[in-house]
């Protein structure tokens, strides 16, 4: 059964088809959400929320405008951005504040890919620099270099023009390069077209 047939059956209310769609796209959706949010718990929550929205509004899906995954991706990225905005204004109850006084906060995030991954030095440096890039530019970079989308599709996902998407990607890359070449940078420095990790005493990487 093709994706289009599954979607057609799901639109007709077939729960088995809906489950097939969910399981087929869950991992990809989770990974994309994780890259955008950098938190596995938030990513899982947002993915569930996006799937619930998609299944509730399946009749709005227009196969002529793109694949099911393309539609789901638009919903998912939008939810991730909303989640990130809400995270900027955290609501902290007094009980939590009292508990925080009693026990020291966990200095490490719940999921640290750089720590969990066996990244090469350069990739670790790029990952850490990516965290410092502005959110809009980072979203565009992820859609461009992880999802491999053309600028027109990035524009559709981010809700901007293709020129704006192109500018965001270029600005993101320029920010990354600046971060990686900063002489006082915590992460790396850049000489002769190669990244050098300070911790490695100037040894060439990459």
């Amino acid at each position: 059964m093709t994706d289009a047939e599954t979607v057609a059956r799901a639109i007709d209310g077939d729960e088995v088809a809906q489950r097939v769609l969910y399981e087929a796209h869950y991992a990809a959706a989770f990974r994309l959400a994780y890259l955008l949010l950098r938190d596995a718990c938030d990513a899982e929550e947002v993915v569930q929320d996006a799937f619930v929205y998609v299944f509730r509004n399946l009749r709005r899906y227009d196969s002529g405008r793109g694949s099911f995954w393309a539609w789901l991706r638009v919903v998912l990225v939008s939810r991730c951005r909303n989640k990130r905005r809400r995270r900027r204004l955290p609501l902290i109850s007094l009980e939590i504040l009292d508990a925080a006084d009693a026990s020291p906060a966990d200095p490490q995030p719940a999921s640290d890919p750089a720590g969990a991954l066996e990244m090469r030095g350069v990739q670790r440096a790029v990952w850490e620099a990516l965290q410092q890039v502005s959110p809009g530019a980072r979203d565009a970079l992820i859609l461009r270099y992880y999802e491999g989308l053309p600028y027109a599709e990035i524009a559709a996902v981010l809700g901007c023009s293709a020129d704006a998407a192109r500018a965001r990607v270029a600005h993101g890359k320029a920010q990354l390069r600046r971060l990686l070449t900063a002489p006082e940078g915590e992460v790396t420095c850049w000489r002769d077209g190669r990244l050098l990790l300070p911790s490695q005493g100037g040894g060439a990487e990459g």
């Binding site: 399981e23 990974r31 994780y34 299944f55 991954l117 320029a174």
Partner: protein
């Protein structure tokens, strides 16, 4: 040959495959900009590799279809419960009205009937008036010809009907004597 270096953003775009003849020409002789473009091309590869590695390394939790299904059913249940509640409230309102004001419904029915009768009478009268007006207009159009008119001086319309002759006081003859004239009433002195 331009000696002004392109902006870094433009070099980043060029490194991503955006065609620009000006930059391509500049890169022929500018080693610095060439190295910047090479940096960007290298960086793109590293970004893609880093993101792919990060995404593959994170453990994907098990899909929780039951949770999604639960959310979907919960919404349906909420909708059905909402409909039931609104129907129940409507029925209760009607029952309360009937119990508290039994004459209210009768009054409503009577006023409704009156309204219907009034509107029907008004509409019948309007129709009759319209028909009468239309028939009178038709009759006038057949019996009374419109006065013949001609254009005078291109602007005003003058009537071609026979003009009424002017009658002056001198020309006018004596008024005809009526056939029967009442004699003047004699003055009777009061006694």
């Amino acid at each position: 040959m331009s000696e002004i270096h392109p902006r870094e953003i433009d070099l980043a775009r060029f490194g991503d495959g955006e065609a620009s003849t000006g930059i391509a020409e500049h890169l022929h002789w500018c080693a610095h900009c060439r190295s910047v473009v090479a940096d960007y091309r290298w960086l793109q590869g590293e970004i893609a590799a880093t993101l792919a590695l990060a995404a593959d390394a994170v453990p994907v939790p098990r899909p929780k279809w039951l949770a999604v299904q639960g959310h979907l059913f919960a919404r349906q249940r909420r909708q059905i419960a909402g409909w039931r509640a609104s129907a129940l409230v409507s029925v209760m309102l009607v029952v309360c009205l009937m119990l508290s004001a039994p004459n209210l419904l009768v009054l409503c029915q009577a006023s409704f009937d009156r309204f219907v009768v009034t509107t029907s009478v008004v509409s019948v009268v309007r129709q009759v008036t319209k028909v009468a007006t239309a028939s009178r207009q038709k009759l006038e159009a057949v019996t009374v010809p419109a006065p013949a008119t001609a254009v005078v001086s291109g602007e005003r319309m003058a009537s071609m009907a026979t003009p009424t002759p002017a009658i002056s006081c001198e020309e006018a003859g004596p008024l005809p004597t009526p056939a029967f004239v009442l004699p003047p009433t004699p003055l009777v002195p009061e006694t």
